[in-house]
Assembly symmetry: C2
Homo-oligomer: 337 residues x 2
């Protein structure tokens, strides 16, 4: 049995949706959920659940009186709101009462609170959020998608190592190919910090490092891990998601406007099901925070009950892998970085 | 008649393809092309053209002995290769012998050579490359997509003004809505330079500035101009192009693998034609360099004859608009920036 703490107050879609996701996830074999948030409000929602569902669900509730809102400035919120659902859950994680923590809330606040409460791994200056994206050659590992900005060259090296450990332990692929996101493949391209990072990665990673990769290689190139800073990663992730959505939506408009639309539309729906299966990243229902002392997972702010459920299931799976422990072991064996 | 100089040596697809594009463009009414490059090699290629085609074409050849390769480091190449096709063409532009310059070559080298040869507009520290992208609400103006990195807050303000002038004079849309690309809409988000830029844009642009916009708003949001630095813009542009390509390719694979593939495939092709018309940015066949004293346009490195032709046609159209002159006029009326 693995116990996952959930910040039920953080979701943009509200507490009811979050509780629904928790109850669903806790019905899975071997998953125990600890809902962290305003106890009375959670209990009020649970009162409406049929007994037969609650009977199969395995959960506890831990009270936390404060809520960090999406619009809260992360640094001050993390310091000021000591009894927030995020901080209380991180306490449980630190004390070993839960094995992993999942939040669909304010990313910045979860990152900062995790660093404050759990501490960073030895040798790590900044944590990274890693996610999985579909490409024409299968899944890619992409980081950092929003934890840390203004990196030093050595942060890129550490992120590359994080990515490698992720691919080997989660995607179970070896001989990892790592690329550094830049505006050109040539050595002289990009800002100074990336030119220095490129040198460092070349020196320390050897053949696993393929060099600079351009934006298009994220979805069309042959690399396993793409490393960048949290600003670039976040903007790239959101804009390429939106480009795909816009493309689908424009195609749909065009197709349904035609007389044969209903034929193509119907058949396309069937084909799209297969397509979605291949590219569905909901199996990777959360981004994983790497570089801190503990298993922390962050979901999309506007998570539905279904995505909260898959986020928790994913968190349960990955908490048993203990990526941060594995990274720590590798880093401590590496000498000076 | 508008005269456009073309760097025929710069294309990755070779001189023959570039010459073909020039000949095609010069058959258009009111377009005169000046091919700049190795004269003997250009003439050798032209020798194989039928007379009836050459008769309709309106072009000259200007000799330039040196070539800046795609892999050349832009700064040193611009300084070292004084007789490159880029430098010779920029001389023609400066002397008024051509009204615009189009290059499908090394972007960095064209930008730096343009700054060196033509100079920047008054008050401008860094130039920007502007491009047009399709979104679900029509076309978006996006800059900088690769000219300048490591910006100051005031560069973002200048880029916003460039974008506004572009939308008003090229897309003919007024009441322009300008957004600053960032990782969140809240004021405190992103690196310090963007927090300062946000303040400055708010102060100087008033209602036209909508604030921070996230990556997804590029393709799904309601803004006309999205402003960012050349690193982020380039990576976002290339990755979102690739995301769309990967999506189309994966969908095609899925559809053609099914028994009904040939029906859907055939009908989809027809629908896609209409779709492409709506989203086709080839009408905007080049990126426009803004902030320098002259009309400079940059095409994709791997441009085919067809894209070179549309790049030249676009350059001819925009050279008559003289965007940089219009920007200069606005900036000089603005007082201290």
């Amino acid at each position: 049995m693995v116990s996952i703490g959930v910040d039920v107050m953080g979701s943009e879609k509200g507490l009811k949706e979050a509780v629904k996701g928790c109850v669903k996830a806790s019905q899975k074999r071997d998953i125990h959920v600890v809902m962290v948030g305003r106890e009375d409000e959670i209990k009020e929602i649970l009162r409406k659940y049929p007994k037969r569902i609650l009977k199969k669900a395995k959960f506890d509730i831990v009270n936390a009186t404060e809520v960090i809102e999406m619009t809260d400035e992360p640094f001050s919120a993390a310091r000021r709101k000591k009894d927030s659902s995020i901080m209380v859950a991180l306490d449980l994680l630190k004390n070993g009462e839960i094995q992993g923590f999942f939040s669909p809330g304010n990313t910045g606040a979860v990152v900062i609170s995790s660093v404050l409460k759990l501490g960073r791994l030895d040798k790590v200056s900044k944590p990274a959020l890693v996610t999985v994206i579909p490409s024409i050659y299968g899944f890619r590992t992409f980081l950092d998608v929003g934890a840390s900005i203004d990196l030093e060259p050595r942060d890129y090296l550490l992120f590359a190592i994080f990515g490698k450990v992720f691919v080997e332990n989660v995607l179970r692929k070896y001989k990892v190919r790592i690329g550094l996101l830049n505006i050109g493949e040539e050595d002289y391209k990009g800002p100074e910090v990336l030119r220095k990072a490129r040198e460092l990665l070349k020196e320390k990673l050897g053949e696993e490092f393929v060099g600079n990769v351009e934006g298009y290689q994220l979805f069309l190139g042959n690399v396993d891990v793409v490393v960048t800073d949290g600003f670039t990663g976040n903007v790239v992730l959101k804009s390429s998601e939106a480009a795909s959505k816009a493309l689908s939506s424009l195609m749909k408009q065009e197709i349904t406007a035609k007389w044969y639309g209903f034929i193509v539309g119907g058949l396309m729906k069937i084909a799209l099901k297969g397509f979605r299966k291949k590219t569905d990243v909901s199996e990777y229902g959360a981004a994983t925070l790497l570089g801190v002392n503990g298993n922390v997972f962050i979901g999309h702010g506007a998570s539905s009950a279904k995505s909260i459920k898959s986020g928790i299931v994913y968190a349960a799976k990955l908490s048993q892998v203990n990526l941060n422990q594995k990274i720590d072991k590798i880093l401590s064996g590496m000498g000076e970085i």
